[in-house]
Symmetry: D2
Subunit: 156 residues, 4 copies
């Protein structure tokens, strides 16, 4: 199997794992819809259980923080996999992935969390052997930017 095929297969496998085996993502209905180091994407649909402000029917800020943290972690994981896939046994990649974790997260709440579907995207702005930084955005289906985030992640 060629190296990029190895990377793709692994990305596919991890993506399936994350979409089915992480309880809190399941609870919220978050799905990874793009999983690459250049850009990752997480989507979810409105559900009444996600409301924080009942009279105004707005998403809880914690839902937004969860979605941004998830998409930021996804883009970082993708970069770890892509970097290692050519040269590293799968077990060691899994090992490295288990050490990826959020160090700190900033969320800017720009507009009320209203919509039918929410699309969260992330890109990497600092990439390193030990620490990486991602920049995240959340829009609704009409392209309204609802929140912006910055996350610092441990990678090694």
């Amino acid at each position: 199997m060629s190296s990029s095929a190895h990377s793709s297969a692994l990305i596919e496998q991890i993506s399936n794992y994350m979409n089915t085996q992480i309880p809190f993502q399941q609870l919220l209905g978050l799905r990874i819809t793009e999983f690459a180091s250049e850009r990752s994407e997480v989507r979810f649909h409105w559900k009444n259980e996600l409301v924080g402000n009942t009279p105004q029917r707005i998403l809880h800020g914690g839902v937004t923080a969860t979605a941004l943290d998830t998409v930021g972690g996804t883009v970082i994981l993708a970069s770890v996999i892509e970097r290692l896939a050519d040269s590293t046994p799968t077990e060691e990649i899994i090992q490295r992935m288990s050490r990826v974790g959020t160090i700190d997260l900033r969320v800017d709440y720009l507009r009320p969390g209203r919509g039918d579907e929410f699309i969260c995207t992330a890109t990497i702005i600092r990439s390193g052997n030990k620490v990486a930084v991602a920049r995240m955005e959340m829009h609704n289906q009409d392209g309204i930017m609802i929140a912006f985030g910055t996350g610092t992640y441990m990678v090694g």
Copy 2:
């Protein structure tokens, strides 16, 4: 009814409301256990649905962010109520409360989210007519500090 009795009754009423009528807090099992401007507290128990890292059985970072945002919002709401209760009709207080919202939030993930019960506390470090800032901490039942947060909130 004396003014402080008015404030206490209102605090009690709002606290009940928040503990029963906010879907996302219900979903996670968050309960407000102290509701005062000097210090507020939110608690929740471990549940398997809250896991983010399955092999290591660690809370999802979004759970931590939700709990810190909730306790920060609680201490800010308490200060709005306490300030207005003596001189303002209840309807106007409710009106003011509906305008309280998170502007931005920083979470520092200090240690893995492991434990049976999680205790989140908040104090106010900037108090103003338009904007207020709270400082939050999350410990587990053994007193281990798991996360630290800072939140800026719109209040008026």
Copy 3:
């Protein structure tokens, strides 16, 4: 004088003021080179006095934070002026401007602060009557992104 001419003249006047009458900006050599709500820019040249890491000759992180806070404040001020210029007496605009202030600032240090000239840019991601949020970047003359920032500002 037409309304947009009024706005331009005021922008010019404020820009001159900020480039000559703010001691700490003078000390560092910061110059506002674009002053508009759509995008503002601040530039400065390398000076030995700005070093924080002497053996490696890298800018002090405080210089970067100062430049990002300055360009973020500039884009916010420009939006206040542009919004008010048509309908508001200059004295009141000046009054409003004096109330603009940084509530909180996050700086992400992405790469070592090395270069001959540093170009800082800002755009607004949340615009409001009371609070606004700006997103800032600092590059050197070769287009290397050195830092990224997010600032929340009081505007009213």
Copy 4:
């Protein structure tokens, strides 16, 4: 020389270095007055050159950010030195120290920067082999808290 004496001598030496050989700290007049992993302190006096808001005579926000970043970096450096001093040659400690750097910084501006002397303190809230997090405060000589900060630092 005993190990703790080694650590103390090194701390003394580094402290002198930082107080005399870092140009931007000299420019602002920042002095390290406590240098220990348990708690570090940096002080500076009011100078007209540090003003950001001329009519109101308030410190530039960049001065506050610089002072908080400096005291945060100091407490982190002290912890690196204390941990290594017993077992590591001085050259290697110096080597390790040169790799300490700020990853990200949050500053909360709580009250206007007015006073004769400013006292900045820092403690460590996350201590690790690769990444550490410090919490900082700035008060004036009357005990008024002017700003609060959180910094994430690379340590290894």
